[in-house]
């Protein structure tokens, strides 16, 4: 007679897994990586590889030697994802040792200190980037210009990015400077300077579609960020033409990368749908403020990090709509 297995219901499972979600995000980032390789050359690949390798190494080493955890958590794929996202937030011609320092901060300080996957308050990749941006402002803000050949790495020539043009226009109060902005087509396909993962809007939007189709994320956070940025920067642009037009704001800098891949990070975003919308609107608002009035041209990463800190509060305050609380309607 066969043995009877007994456990509580439900007896079936969707088959979804942490790995599945992490790897699909990685897959969704591949178009942007390919695009980056075409525009910035082999430096994009090398930077990403160093970043991924060091993130995975630090997570493994901390598990093994500091936490003495017999179960290695590297296989869940989150360290790989952090590595890719960290690299995507750097110029492709950055010195390798800077990447390693960033990875150590991201994994060692921001993720593992808080208890590893699921426990960190801040997005590790973004916190790593912010740390590097403050520590090595020159290296982190001299971006290569695209189209210098496939062999380009540390020797890349650098130039202005759309965001630095916008900042210059605002500081000088001269809207004519905005005419130097690349065309929308160039921004769509990535013919602009910038961090290696953020330049090609089309590839990032393709990644967004992949994530939506595979149900890894929902539309709430990205769409609320993008709509807020469009509306708010549109109002600024109407009030004063030294502010760039909203479409340029949307397609430049880390906005798409941040809205689609960073703000939607499971661990550091709110749990309820209405909480997610509030979070998205706040990020969009802060991004435009920082871009226009802050010291750095780039506002997305700081906006997300600031809102990460508010997520526990949002979770406490904005609960999902309970069944049955709606007044009876016909």
């Amino acid at each position: 007679m066969s043995k009877l297995v007994v456990s509580l219901s439900p007896h079936v499972h969707s088959g979804d897994s942490v790995q599945n979600n992490m790897y699909w995000v990685c897959v969704a980032l591949v178009p942007a990586l390919i695009c980056s390789f075409i525009k910035f050359g082999v430096g994009a690949i090398i930077t990403t590889a160093i970043s991924v390798a060091s993130c995975v190494f630090f997570e493994w080493a901390i598990n093994k030697f500091m936490l003495k955890n017999p179960k290695c958590t590297v296989s869940d794929g989150s360290a790989i994802l952090t590595g890719i996202l960290l690299a995507f937030n750097m110029p492709s011609n950055i010195q390798p040792w800077i990447i390693i320092v960033g990875a150590l901060f991201a994994i060692g300080v921001v993720k593992m200190t808080f208890g590893g996957l699921g426990c960190n308050l801040f997005n590790p990749a973004l916190a790593g980037r912010a740390f590097l941006l403050i520590s090595f402002p020159v290296d982190m803000t001299t971006w290569p210009t695209p189209g210098q050949g496939f062999g380009t790495y540390l020797d890349a020539e650098t130039g202005a990015t759309p965001l630095s043009i916008m900042k210059a226009a605002f500081k000088s109060g001269n809207p004519d400077l905005l005419k130097e902005l690349p065309s929308f087509y160039d921004m769509l396909v990535g013919n602009t300077g910038g961090c290696l993962g953020e330049v090609c809007a089309a590839a990032l939007i393709l990644g967004f579609i992949i994530l939506l189709v595979k149900k890894v994320i929902t539309w709430h956070i990205p769409v609320s960020i993008l709509v807020t940025v469009a509306v708010f920067s549109g109002l600024l642009n109407l009030a004063n033409p030294v502010y760039a037009n909203p479409l340029a704001e949307l397609m430049s800098g880390g906005l798409l990368l941040g809205a689609i891949f960073m703000a939607t990070d499971y661990v550091t975003s709110p749990m309820s749908k209405n909480g997610q919308l509030i979070y998205g609107v706040a990020i969009g608002f802060l991004t435009v403020i920082i871009r226009a009035y802050g010291a750095y041209p780039e506002g997305m990463s700081f906006a997300i990090l600031i809102m990460n800190a508010f997520v526990p509060l949002i979770n406490n305050k904005f609960k999902p709509k309970r069944f049955g609380e709606v007044p009876a309607k016909k």
Binding site: M1, S9, P10, R322, A328
Partner: protein, 451 residues
């Protein structure tokens, strides 16, 4: 297409036995009748060892002044003993054992196939219908087993507006209700009319999910002669068969948080099987002693639907489908989302046994538990708008006041959260622990307040 508005998941349907006509199961050698087959107090055995019984003889009387109902013998023969049995719930219950001899029915039962319509019995009053339903021992046959006559007599401050027939069968694998609609459509519809008359309402709905197009088509055609009854096609989504979800899907009203009853928004929900049982009880004078049971599973040679007498051991039905497969198996009473794993396959078929599902050990093995990644998929899946991750974590930490404040008692234990969790966390296990504890605490407070 209509569906409920909050949450839900879509498990693989696996309706293996959907095309299998209902077969009559063989009579068992010994039939066992637990006295507690319904919500409320168990019935009291009213036969003794050695008594002769027929098919349809009452063997259990409802406990007086309590929520309870009758139990009838499904076989003819001799009472072997009045003892206890561990039934599908896993609890020991008082039970009557009957040795089967022949198949002799009570004379009062009309065994003909002839359809009796409402037009033939215009003199029936709501009170008479409820009385007959009560005396036939009918309970909700979807699985909850709430005595039907009680549901038809709501507290006086509520006025029912609709009878909604639950023909959703949202549990994967199960096809008993589907087959019943295809094969007994006319009887089911008369049953619906009887329920509507008993509840004094003029509008009836039959909610069917779109994955049963043949049943939707047939019932819609038949409804041409029953203008008060409307078939509502629903988008296939679990747990649409939940009472509150079905009301929301069909009439767009949400039952308030417990302890509010569905009738507080004007709806009375009955299962298709119940509607059929009501027809047989009222029009054919036949008490509830048999039902359609789906016996299914990917390893079974012949997944089937059986018209089964109550008291038949599940093992006999499994044998009739080709027997248990080798290796470790899980035998589930009910569907894979809410059914109970059995510790013993000799347990008898009862009023609420909609299916017997056999799954291999590999199919049901739980994945390795990983840390919560706060992906919020459980929050999106919860049809009650709760936060399963929070309820589970706080239950695990014994924060009973916190989970009570977070509405844990609203949980319907549908399992959508645990089904969807990518980290394979035992969310519902923990939530059940919290819910049970909170309910106990609430009752204790109420008792203290009374003193």
């Amino acid at each position: 297409m209509k569906t409920f508005r909050i949450g839900g998941v879509h498990p693989a349907e696996n309706k293996l036995s959907a095309a299998e006509p209902i077969k009559v199961a063989e009579l068992p050698k010994v039939a066992v009748f637990p006295m507690g087959q319904h919500i409320g107090a168990p019935a009291l055995p009213c036969v003794q060892k050695g008594d002769k019984v027929k098919v349809g003889t009452q063997i259990g009387k409802p406990m007086e002044k309590a929520l309870s109902t009758s139990i009838f013998s499904s076989v003819s023969g001799t009472v072997l003993k009045v003892d206890t049995v561990v039934d599908a719930s896993g609890y020991k219950k008082p039970a009557v054992y009957i040795t089967v001899e022949g198949d002799e029915w009570e004379e009062s039962i009309d065994r003909s196939d002839k359809l009796v319509t409402m037009a033939e019995k215009p003199e029936l009053t709501p009170e008479e219908i409820i009385e007959k339903v009560k005396n036939a021992g009918i309970v909700g046959m979807g699985g909850a087993c709430f005595p039907t006559h009680v549901k038809l007599m709501p507290p006086p401050q509520f006025k029912p507006e609709w009878v909604i027939i639950n023909a959703v069968e949202c549990e994967p694998y199960l096809t008993a209700d589907h087959r019943l609609m295809l094969e007994k459509a006319d009887q089911v519809l008369v049953g619906v009319e009887l329920l509507m008359k008993a509840a004094k309402v003029t509008k009836g709905f039959i909610g069917i999910e779109e994955n049963k197009p043949d049943a939707i088509k047939l019932m819609t055609e038949k409804c041409a002669q029953h203008p008060n009854i409307e078939v509502v096609t629903l988008k296939t989504k679990y747990p649409q068969g939940g009472e509150k979800q079905l009301i929301d899907a069909v009439v767009r009203r949400q039952v308030p948080a417990p302890p509010a009853l569905p009738v507080s928004v004007g709806a009375i929900i009955q299962n298709v099987g119940t509607a059929f049982a009501v027809y047989e009880a009222v029009m054919k004078n036949k008490p509830l002693f048999e039902r359609v049971v789906t016996v299914t599973g990917k390893q079974l040679k012949q997944p089937s639907n059986f018209l089964t007498r109550m008291g038949t051991p599940m093992s006999q039905l499994i044998e009739a489908c080709g027997g248990l497969p080798d290796g470790d198996v899980k035998v589930i009473g009910g569907g894979p989302m809410m059914g109970k794993a059995l510790i013993n396959i000799e347990v008898p078929i009862c009023k609420g046994s909609s299916g017997v599902l056999i799954m291999s050990g590999d199919e049901v093995r739980r994945g390795e538990e990983q840390p919560c990644i706060r992906c919020a998929k459980c929050v999106s899946a919860c049809p009650m708008g709760l936060e399963p991750y929070l309820l589970a974590t706080c239950s695990g930490k014994k924060m009973w006041d916190k989970v009570e404040a977070e509405d844990i008692t609203s949980c319907i234990e549908c399992g959508s959260c645990q089904f969807t969790c990518p980290s394979n966390r035992p969310l519902l296990d923990l939530i059940r622990l919290g819910k049970t504890t909170v309910m106990t605490n609430i009752r204790a407070r109420q008792m203290a307040a009374k003193k």
